[in-house]
């Protein structure tokens, strides 16, 4: 079976400036994929190449086994392009119906499909409005609705929740999760917490280069992705305490040169580090402890940490296997 997306040495340059530099990866159909990177890292450029909006300067890209731009891909790819707007003089439902007809739907079915997708975005009530009358967030949701039409095999969403209110951002996330059994999503966003909830794989671009392609939180399980940048075989446990540990209870054996907050956190960190298979521990702000260990050696570390917390009379807010996406991408 051919990969959903195959990129080989994909480069795009504008003059002397590289937007993408020899990016290579291969992705099979499956759960949503997060595309992250700083501004100008090449996320939108990569999505635009995959959508066929722009041509690569060099390299090869194939989607579903076909060259991007091929007639055979018509209707197979949906996309939310960055900053694309609908015609302000035609009603929303007419524009979406027209797009659905182009995708191969007969007129009546096209109207139903347009309404179905508007309903997914909770916009059915404004179907007869013109785009000019809508807010920025509503325009974006209409654009997401068009991307969902016809249930394409691959949907590329460029910052789908940027500018949306929390309730609608949540709805977008829910729709992505609900549809991810039949469609593979690639979602570009700066909201790492959001991506963590939706996606199981992450592609990290930095200055046009693919720095990593890995499972979120589970660096050993690469799923269906064949990554070209691999992670060492380590596991993580992330613990967030409800409040700062009391220094006095944990200060034994710790130097007095530390401030009370640091020493209390550090004292707990020392105790955790003494547990079996823990190789490293990092204390972040908000009493967050990222514990690096080997699950192969100690599969019940989480339970041991909970016991330690109980013994120290400490309350915790959250304990999760793996590390946050932010820590995963920007560690050190």
């Amino acid at each position: 079976m051919s990969a959903l997306i195959e990129c080989r040495d994909l480069s795009k340059n504008y003059g002397n400036q590289f937007a993408l530099n020899k990016v290579s990866f291969e992705i099979q159909a499956g759960s949503p994929i997060a595309l992250v990177g700083a501004n100008g890292a090449g996320k939108s450029t990569l999505l635009s190449i995959l959508s066929g909006y722009i041509k690569p300067s060099s390299g090869q890209v194939r989607v579903l086994g076909h060259t991007v731009g091929s007639e055979k891909l018509i209707g197979c790819i949906g996309a939310l392009p960055q900053d694309a707007l609908f015609d302000p003089s035609v009603t929303i439902v007419k524009q979406l119906t027209f797009l659905a007809q182009l995708q191969g739907f007969k007129r009546l079915k096209a109207i139903k499909e347009a309404e179905r997708c508007l309903d997914l975005m909770q916009l059915l009530h404004i179907k007869n409005d013109k785009v000019g009358a809508l807010s920025h967030g509503m325009k974006k949701r209409v654009a997401i609705a068009q991307a969902l039409m016809g249930t394409p095999k691959l949907i590329l969403l460029d910052e789908p929740t940027a500018g949306l209110d929390p309730e609608n951002a949540r709805n977008v996330r829910q729709q992505i999760s609900a549809l991810s059994n039949e469609t593979t999503f690639i979602v570009s966003s700066h909201n790492l917490a959001e991506l963590e909830k939706m996606c199981s794989l992450v592609m990290y671009l930095e200055r046009g280069e693919l720095k990593s392609l890995q499972s979120i939180g589970e660096s050993q399980d690469m799923g269906s992705v064949q990554a070209y940048v691999s992670e060492p075989q380590v596991d993580y446990l992330t613990l967030i305490l409800k409040q700062e540990p009391i220094a006095s209870g944990l200060s034994s054996g710790f130097s007095s040169e530390f401030s009370s907050e640091f020493s209390s956190n550090a004292a707990l960190a020392t105790k955790i580090k003494n547990l079996s298979s823990v190789s490293q521990i990092k204390v972040n702000t908000n009493h967050e402890f990222v514990i690096q260990y080997s699950r192969l050696i100690n599969p019940t570390l989480d339970q041991q940490v909970l016991k330690l917390l109980a013994a120290e009379n400490l309350e915790y807010r959250q304990i999760t296997q793996g590390q946050s996406l932010e820590d995963q991408l920007f560690k050190g």
């Binding site: 007639e71 392009p81 694309a84 035609v90 027209f98 007809q101 068009q146």
Partner: protein
């Protein structure tokens, strides 16, 4: 297996034709239902209304009236259009000359925005996931040609009504001439629409596209003549400027003007092929 492949190819062709037709329909909707489209069509209808009520009606009457005919012939001779006096149907004679110049000029404005607004807005990105760039490019050209056809039909119908009102005895003769004039005017207009198709994918503003087209038409011939005076072979580029044959067509009757249509047909094909080649590779 081979049969399945053939079915798939036929299905793709059918879907391709269907997409072109859908895009052309959308172009019609945009032109006659959008505020800009309504404004342009409204202006065009007012101009034609005034032309029909005054110049065409009065000129047609003057051509047939023994009192003013001699003076009118002097004017025609002065304009180099003395061949018009051979037309039996004077309303169509005037329509022929006016339409040969007015329709191409009108489409420099009306057909200028085939792609520009959509490109600026990013709207092409919604379309190219659902149809090929070829279908989009040619679909919009076809849409514009249908718009021109509708306008030619409407103006021809009104002129024919005027003819029948003035000379009921020419009802059948006039009817025979209508499709002939329609085909000629449409083919003369085609390279202008194709030129706007080409400009609409290379220029970033609608006004700029119209302005460039006017400059090409107004100054292109002069510049080519100037350079050709130094290098004779450059004169061949004159064939690339649309409308070069209109003056000679205006001096002849549609029944004998078929030969003059080769040039606009070739020009249309050339502009479209260049435009498609650019659009196919363009970043949108």
């Amino acid at each position: 297996m081979q049969l399945n492949n053939q079915k798939s190819i036929n299905g793709n062709k059918k879907q391709g034709v269907n997409s072109i037709w859908l895009i052309a329909q959308q172009e019609l909707l945009k032109s006659f239902a959008s505020p800009r489209g309504l404004f342009v069509s409204g202006v065009f209808i007012i101009i034609w209304g005034l032309l029909l009520v005054y110049p065409i009606r009065i000129s047609a009457a003057a051509m047939t009236s023994p009192d003013s005919a001699s003076l009118f012939m002097v004017v025609l001779h002065f304009l180099g259009l003395e061949a018009l006096q051979d037309w039996l149907l004077s309303e169509f004679a005037i329509y022929w000359v006016v339409a040969l110049y007015l329709f191409p000029t009108f489409c420099l404005v009306s057909a200028a925005d085939q792609m520009i607004s959509d490109r600026q807005r990013g709207g092409l990105r919604f379309l190219t996931l659902r149809c090929t760039r070829g279908q989009l490019f040619f679909g919009r050209f076809v849409g514009q040609m249908i718009i021109q056809s509708i306008l030619i039909c409407v103006t021809l119908a009104i002129t024919y009504s005027l003819l029948v009102f003035n000379n009921p005895q020419h009802i059948l003769k006039g009817l025979g001439l209508v499709p002939l004039i329609f085909c000629h005017i449409l083919l003369v207009t085609a390279p202008f629409v194709a030129l706007m198709s080409l400009l609409s994918i290379t220029v970033d503003s609608v006004r700029m596209a119209s302005l460039i087209a006017f400059i090409i038409l107004a100054l292109g011939g002069l510049l080519i003549n100037y350079f050709a005076s130094y290098l004779q072979i450059l004169a061949v580029f004159k064939y690339g400027i649309p409308g070069g044959q209109i003056y000679s067509m205006a001096q002849s009757h549609p029944t004998i003007a078929w030969g003059a249509l080769t040039q606009p047909t070739l020009q249309t094909m050339t502009f479209l092929l260049i435009g498609y080649a650019i659009f196919k590779r363009q970043d949108i």
